[in-house]
């Protein structure tokens, strides 16, 4: 059976090639992260060494001290944490309900499409020009420089994505279980809370990750809505270390590296949900 042997060899070659490609992809993915991480432990003289220093440098915690003790990065991190968690929770509650309503209820004419598209289209506004009216808006309500303003703005920015993700997820869940619950006397709302929501947990977790990433890393809106330690977030704090004359690379690397850790750790914890939780109606064909 020559063909069979050939088949097996070919399969083995493909497998080796796949591993090789993956190895390259992993290297390209991790190298800049490695560079960011090591720069945070290097003295400036090593960051700018010619040729670059790869492994052999005397590590220092100077930049961590400068960022987290000399500069209020701990406070920025706390602000970011509060804002990211609050945004994620609020946008998940709102977005899950809206997504469910769009997936399950009956609409006259093309209303389902119209509403869904309008929700998505709010994300197409060029953010740079919405910043000025938003500034006036929050100033009017005396909410500038509060974490609340940032949470409200981020929630609005996040909702289209959350709604669409959850709408697709609910559309792919079979409705029979909810029907059964209602036949057993549960209300429509009860069927949503007690049947649909638990089934949608992977979807909620996967959506939460995206929402967290966005709220944790957003820069432009935070820049205009925050002003002092009371509300300033990590990305704004980081960009503040690029000054008129110089860039504090070490502090930026230290803050940037530490800022990525919580999200990465969270992603590792929930990684099994990450793929399962995302559904875009692929099976509908």
């Amino acid at each position: 059976m020559a063909t069979r042997a050939w088949h097996r060899t070919r399969e083995a070659i493909f497998r080796m090639l796949a591993y090789a490609v993956m190895a390259i992809a992993l290297f390209i993915t991790t190298f800049p992260v490695y560079w960011l991480a090591t720069n945070s432990f290097k003295l400036d003289i090593d960051i700018f060494a010619v040729p670059p220093v790869w492994f052999e440098f005397s590590p220092t915690l100077k930049h961590y001290e400068a960022a987290f003790i000399g500069q209020p990065f701990l406070i920025y991190a706390l602000n970011s944490l509060i804002i990211a968690v609050a945004t994620t929770i609020v946008s998940l509650i709102f977005g899950t309900m809206a997504g469910y309503a769009l997936a399950r209820f009956h609409y006259p004419g093309r209303w389902r499409y119209q509403i869904s598209f309008w929700i998505l289209s709010t994300r197409m506004m060029p953010p740079i020009v919405t910043i000025i009216p938003l500034f006036i808006f929050f100033n009017f309500f005396n909410l500038l420089n509060t974490r609340l303003a940032v949470v409200v703005a981020y929630t609005a920015f996040n909702l289209p994505f959350v709604t669409w993700m959850m709408k697709s997820y609910f559309q792919d869940l079979p409705p029979e279980l909810e029907e059964a619950a209602m036949v057993d006397g549960d209300t429509r709302w009860g069927a949503f809370v007690r049947v649909a929501l638990p089934l949608a947990r992977p979807g909620i977790v996967a959506t939460a990750i995206f929402s967290l990433i966005l709220a944790w890393n957003e820069f432009l809106l935070a820049l205009i809505l925050t002003q002092t330690d009371r509300s300033m977030t990590l990305p704004v704090g980081i960009s503040g270390r690029v000054t008129q004359y110089t860039t504090h690379w070490g502090e930026i690397s230290a803050a940037g590296f530490l800022a990525s850790l919580p999200i990465i750790i969270f992603a590792l914890i929930v990684q099994r949900h990450l793929v399962r939780g995302m559904s875009f109606g692929a099976v509908k064909g």
Partner: protein, 308 residues
């Protein structure tokens, strides 16, 4: 299948439960939509009105100078603004090239991963790391990597015996450096979405195809691609919308240079609105960008039959 629940509202046993429950059940559809719709309307209505009014006015940076109605004057200005034209061209080039590369790489990696490496879950998470790092730190790290004298990239070129490059400082390479950094940061997003799509593929059609002796290539084109189409469409749409807004990378790596090679729309709108403080003109450009994006998305969604 969904159609079986033709009008679930009617399935509610009326007459049971408290008055509040009955009221809630009757209006459940709008009640569940309301928070989202109200918040989005509240936060987009004012900016939209502001933008529409400013776009037809000459808005002075001096608050005591009354706004002057200029009709379509701001829009006419766009026709003869060379910097804007450069920005539009660069934005389109960036969006097309970056999103295409991200899509091909993301889909390719997802296919490989799905077929060969499925069980090593943590590798998948590692591949996702770039999009979890604050973009501002990403941009600054790439700036260091590209730096012509101390950067690692030129060190790598040197080790490989290749000539060193100016990267972000080279008028012909600057856009490529921005695209490369963006591809690094956002290919993981496409990769994840594609993996999710692949994971939800049904197995029966593939078994049938196997029996028919269809080649792997045929199976990919006839089964995988059609099945994945909705995921592909939404992934592309989300990426295109974000690529059109590119800001951080350009602002930190090149500030639009050299010689305007990386001037993008959002950078230009930023300059007009905040550096020149010409709010009317900035609003006019933004309005055109908004209409173009909405128009494109409508066409794209129809084309991909995403709507239902």
């Amino acid at each position: 299948m969904r159609e079986r629940m033709a009008d679930p509202i009617l399935t509610v046993p009326t007459g049971s439960g408290t008055a509040f429950e009955r009221w809630r059940e009757r209006h459940l559809r709008i009640l569940m939509l309301a928070p989202t719709l109200l918040l989005l309307a509240g936060l987009t209505l004012f900016p939209t009105v502001y933008m529409l009014t400013a776009a037809v006015q000459n808005v002075s940076p001096d608050p005591d100078v009354p706004r002057e109605f200029v009709g379509l004057g701001n829009f006419a200005r766009m026709l003869t603004d060379p910097e804007l034209h450069v920005a539009v061209r660069n934005t389109v080039v960036f969006t097309v090239v970056a999103v295409t590369l991200e899509f091909l790489l993301g889909l390719g990696l997802a296919l490989l991963f799905d077929k060969y490496i499925r069980r090593l879950n943590f590798l998948k998470t590692i591949l996702l790391v770039p999009m979890m790092i604050p973009p501002i730190a990403v941009a600054l790290t790439w700036k260091l990597i590209y730096q012509p004298q101390f950067g690692v990239l030129n060190e790598l070129m040197f080790r490989l015996g290749l000539p060193s490059q100016a990267w972000a400082g080279d008028v012909n390479l600057a856009m490529a450096t921005i695209i490369a950094a963006d591809v690094w940061e956002w290919t993981p997003f496409i990769f994840l979405l594609m993996l999710a799509g692949l994971a939800s593929l049904p197995s029966e059609p593939y078994e049938a195809a196997q029996v028919d002796g269809a080649s792997a290539w045929r199976q990919f084109w006839d089964l995988t691609v059609p099945f994945l189409k909705p995921v592909i469409a939404i992934a592309l749409l989300l990426r295109i919308m974000d690529a059109l807004r590119l800001f951080d990378l350009v602002f930190i790596l090149t500030v639009g240079g050299p010689a305007g090679a990386t001037e993008t729309l959002s950078l230009y709108i930023f300059k007009v609105a905040f550096t020149f403080v010409d709010i009317g003109y900035a609003a006019a450009i933004s309005l055109v960008v908004l209409f173009a994006t909405v128009g494109f998305s409508t066409w794209f969604i129809k084309r991909m039959r995403l709507a239902d």
